[in-house]
């Protein structure tokens, strides 16, 4: 799927050869990054564990449940548990290939976001137009000052243009 990345997520093109070795097997499959070797093992584990569980369950239920269709449905339910089990096994064996960075907001992004917002309609709008509930919400978030000062800065030279 495309469109899944935001501007600042580009993978670091960075440090050369010495970190390259663990990364040569990385690939994007079904919307996220996997290690090709881990993926191959995961597919085998998923297939064997789930199908194995299902086939064993089918044997058992065929012998114990009188109506064959019901027995097969129970076997499928157990097979589904087998799927979940294979997922748990793979989650334990293979770590995610994701780098999660915890971050508070970055002033540079804030500014970029403001500029982008202003770019969409030519103005970010006037703070006086807002209902009091929204102003209170913005104050609580610490965004009121940001918008008010940006507004003041942008509108001073061209205050007459924002009529519409």
């Amino acid at each position: 799927m495309q469109g899944a990345s935001t501007p600042f997520q580009a993978p670091p093109k960075g440090p050369p050869s010495h970190v390259k070795s663990p990364n040569v097997h990385l690939a994007e499959v079904w919307g996220d990054v996997v290690d090709r070797r881990h993926l191959a093992a995961a597919v085998v584990i998923g297939a064997v564990v789930s199908l194995g569980t299902f086939l064993i369950a089918a044997r058992i239920f065929a012998a114990t449940v009188a109506v064959p269709d019901v027995g097969r449905a129970y076997a499928m339910l157990v097979g589904l548990l087998g799927c979940v089990l294979s997922g748990v096994i793979c989650a334990k064996l293979f770590p995610p290939k994701r780098e999660v960075v915890e971050s508070a907001s970055d002033p540079a992004w804030r500014l970029a976001a403001m500029q982008q917002l202003a770019g969409e309609t030519g103005t970010i709008g006037r703070i006086e137009d807002l209902p009091p509930q929204v102003i209170a919400e913005m104050k609580e978030l610490g965004l009121y000052e940001l918008f008010a000062s940006y507004d003041a800065e942008q509108n001073r030279p061209q205050a007459t243009v924002t009529g519409a």
Partner: protein, 461 residues
């Protein structure tokens, strides 16, 4: 009375099961509704759960997933599923402003309000359309052909999708003929194959040296996890306080209007309603928060309407959602059928009354709200961190590979498995290369099952 009490107990139980399971699945980004909700609902149908239980399960699952898909969308900046894609722009802007938790809260509050509105309105619209049900049923083979062409044209592939319908339908007919030779009639396998197509295509591609370069990545995927702040006491925040008056009004209005539009793609409706509302709000911050509330509300209301209206009024899957994630409510052979003996319909349409749809629909929304809403509000950040740090994508793929093996073997032994892989590979590649998406493929399947027999009858007699 005992029968009613039993029904309610079953529905409540199934509703909780659906809401809990899909609140968790919603957290995993990239899990498409069709690939997850459809096969699991199918399983619920085939296990013989009573009709009201099946319905409550499906709706509670869909509503819950729509609430928790807001978590990766808002906090990680990646769409929770295809329905969340139109929300990404606003979510990203709010995240960059340093207030992703606001995006999250506005989204799920909008979704909750819209869901509550959409259920009764969809039932009402369905009742208005129901008198035409007989006509529709008789004309069904031709309607499906028309709907398939229309949905194909409005998919990303445009004319390519329209023309691809012919070979695709032919493939389904050919596979059916082959399996019939061995006395095997498959239904579920086609569905699962189509639904899981993008994964199958990617797994094959990753083996091909030609595709390897395209799929290669230089490093792990990087996510920036934004901090969260809690600004209310207690466990269940009031959605009417999270949204301001303007937002409540727009969300309600947009939800009411879109509850009547059941033939268009929910993603398209979401985009359009967002534009309509956005154009009317001058201040940038207020526009962001209002558009995101309205859009998530619309994803919920169109989704519910698209499933409920065709289900209640006609019993035929005549919308993208009905043909996709809600498909097992219409067609889950051998239990539910749109092409039973003599063109007979046997599914929730014939097994439940409109009042039951209303009652159990509201029950499902209530249960989903009870589970997913406080969960997403209170534990969003912890949950997003856990999923992205502990659940590898390999594990998710392993689970789905297992699902294919079990369902395929269950329905048709080796033949079932081969049909899933064939449909998945062809469908998945057509989706990626031509934009012949999953919804169009489902319509293609129905065309093969319903229109092709009618056509042969017409020409051969």
């Amino acid at each position: 009375m005992d029968g009613l009490l039993f029904d309610i107990l079953v529905a409540v139980g199934m509703g909780f099961a659906g809401a809990i399971a899909f609140s968790l699945i919603g957290l995993i980004s990239g899990t498409d509704e069709t690939t997850t909700i459809a096969p699991v609902t199918l399983l619920v149908v085939l296990l013989g759960v009573p009709p009201v239980g099946v319905f409550t399960f499906w709706l509670a699952a869909a509503v819950a997933k729509h609430m928790t898909h807001a978590v990766p969308t808002a906090l990680l900046g990646i769409p929770g599923d295809t329905m969340a894609v139109p929300l990404l722009q606003q979510a990203t802007a709010l995240r960059n402003l340093g207030v992703p938790h606001i995006a999250l809260r506005k989204m799920i509050s909008g979704g909750l309000i819209a869901a509550v509105i959409a259920v009764p309105l969809s039932v009402a619209f369905a009742l208005l359309l129901a008198p035409f049900g007989q006509m529709i049923t008789v004309a069904a083979p031709w309607l499906f052909l028309g709907a398939a062409l229309l949905i194909a044209y409005f998919s990303a592939g445009k004319w390519a999708s329209v023309f691809t319908l012919l070979p695709f339908v032919l493939l389904v007919v050919a596979l059916q003929t082959i399996t019939a030779k061995y006395g095997v009639k498959l239904g579920v396998s086609y569905f699962l194959g189509i639904a899981i197509g993008p994964l199958v295509a990617d797994l094959f591609s990753s083996l091909s040296p030609m595709e390897r370069a395209r799929m290669h990545r230089d490093g792990p995927r990087r996510f920036t996890l934004a901090p969260d702040m809690k600004s209310w006491g207690g466990f269940f925040p009031n959605p009417f306080k999270v949204l301001d008056r303007t937002q409540v009004l727009w969300t309600t209005g947009a939800a009411a209007i879109t509850s009547a539009t059941f033939v268009f793609s929910p993603v398209a409706m979401t985009v359009i309603m967002g534009e309509v509302v956005g154009a009317r709000i001058k201040h940038a911050y207020h526009r962001l928060t209002t558009v995101i509330s309205v859009r998530n509300g619309v994803t919920e209301s169109t989704y519910i309407a698209e499933a409920l209206i065709p289900l209640i009024a006609f019993g035929l899957p005549l919308s993208p959602v009905a043909a996709g994630p809600a498909a097992p409510l219409f067609n889950a052979p051998p239990r539910f059928m749109v092409d039973g003996p003599g063109g007979q319909i046997v599914n929730l349409h014939t097994l439940m009354t409109p009042m039951q749809f209303l009652g159990y629909g509201l029950l499902a929304v209530f249960i989903a709200a009870l589970i997913a809403y406080p969960f997403a509000m209170n534990y969003a950040r912890v949950a997003a961190a856990f999923v992205s740090r502990r659940i590898s994508h390999e594990a998710i793929i392993a689970t789905f590979v297992g699902l294919v093996m079990v369902i395929g073997t269950w329905e048709g032994q080796a033949l079932g498995l081969m049909v899933i892989v064939t449909m998945g590979l062809v469908g998945g590649l057509l989706y990626r290369i031509l934009g012949f998406n999953t919804g169009v493929q489902f319509m293609g399947y129905y065309t093969a099952v319903l229109t092709v027999p009618a056509l042969t009858k017409l020409f051969i007699g």
